[in-house]
């Protein structure tokens, strides 16, 4: 009955891009397309009957992959990970929000995919939602996109690229696990960077990556929704949000 609305917000330069959709009975209706806003408080459906999701693009994230050297494989010491960043940045915990994925390779090698976002960039975005006590979640856009695509594609090893805020983000996946993340790749450099990545995996790991372009066709939605190619990121984010918040 309630909470059928989903608001997906992706920060761009000095503004926010937002999409509000209504999902009910396996149908998704877009309320007013993708809008540019100065703050989340200006969303038309800004009320309590809405799930608010903010997804930070890869360009505004701090990403790092750390190999685990724990003796106990079932225990991850967060301090051990943070110590590595303390060497690079002082007061890391005070200045960043962070979270991580644990990836276990085929050879039982364990890695931590560490993501962090600056508090002073994130807090102003969520200020309105805290002020009016709206339920919300802030996550990483590349992880959300990867999470949705990974369930759909047949390939185990692939390279996915998608356009966001006039530049490209590249995600490489090995054995259906996120591996490398590159952001802010210009359109003219895209082909070259993709080739470099393919060669790297081929030469170092003897793996040939399947290249996937991030577009709506990839989602196999058929005529389910009328979409433009540019909406791939928002549509994927919306599917992730609905799945995550239901």
């Amino acid at each position: 009955m309630f909470n059928n609305y989903y608001s997906v917000t992706i920060p761009a330069e000095n503004k926010l891009k937002n999409l509000v959709a209504r999902a009910k009975n396996h149908k998704i209706n877009f309320i007013d397309g993708i809008n540019e806003l100065s703050s989340i408080g200006k969303i038309k459906k800004f009320n309590f009957n809405c799930h608010y999701v903010v997804l930070l693009p890869a360009s505004s994230l701090f990403y790092h992959s750390v190999a685990l050297e724990e003796k106990n494989p079932y225990k991850i010491s967060e301090d051990n990970i943070l110590n590595k960043f303390a060497e690079v940045k002082e007061n890391f915990e005070d200045e960043f929000y962070y979270d991580y994925l644990e990836v276990v390779g085929e050879s039982e090698e364990r890695e931590i995919k560490f993501f962090a976002a600056k508090k002073d960039l994130l807090d102003p975005i969520t200020a309105d939602m805290e002020k009016y006590k709206n339920n919300y979640i802030v996550s990483a856009l590349p992880v959300a996109v990867f999470s949705v695509i990974n369930k759909i594609v047949k390939a185990k090893n692939y390279l996915l690229y998608y356009k966001i805020n006039d530049s490209y983000t590249i995600i490489s996946a090995l054995n259906n696990k996120i591996d490398l993340l590159q952001s802010s790749v210009k359109e003219k450099e895209l082909k070259e960077v993709i080739e470099e990545n393919k060669k790297y995996y081929l030469n170092n790991k003897e793996i040939e990556l399947e290249v996937l372009e991030g577009k709506s066709d990839l989602l196999n939605l058929g005529d389910y929704m009328d979409l433009k190619n540019d909406d791939f990121v928002f549509l994927t984010s919306l599917l992730w949000s609905i799945n995550r918040c239901q």
Partner: protein, 153 residues
Amino acid sequence: MSIIFKKKKYNRIIIFIKSAVVFLVISTLVLIFLNHFLLRKNTAARALLNNLREEESKYINLISDLDQNSNSNKNSYNYFNLIYTLVKKADDIIYNSIQIKDKHLNLDAEGSDYNSILVLEEKLKKDRHLKEVELAEINRNYQFKIKAVISLQ
């Protein structure tokens, strides 16, 4: 698989209950204040009404007093007429006392002879302001008493 930087889940029911409690408290305070204010207004209005009622009763009393005064004036005027009539109707009768009480007239007088007394009695019986005229007593010295009922209509 997801990365969560920040997450807030507010309990809608608790927020609603808190808002409802705040609303009720404010409503109660407003109602108490309003009630107190209206009560004071009511008391003042009631006092004013009582004053007005007292004034009203005072004026009603004054009006009824005026009516009574005019009635008594009328009565006294009639009694005066009656005495005037009595004196006029009997030249040779000496009136010792004329007593009027509850519209009953007791006349104590002394005549020169029987005839003059009977003439007076007849005259009084014919008077439209007197009825039940009765010669109560009479003695040899021609002293007599006449009783009658006065009709002031």
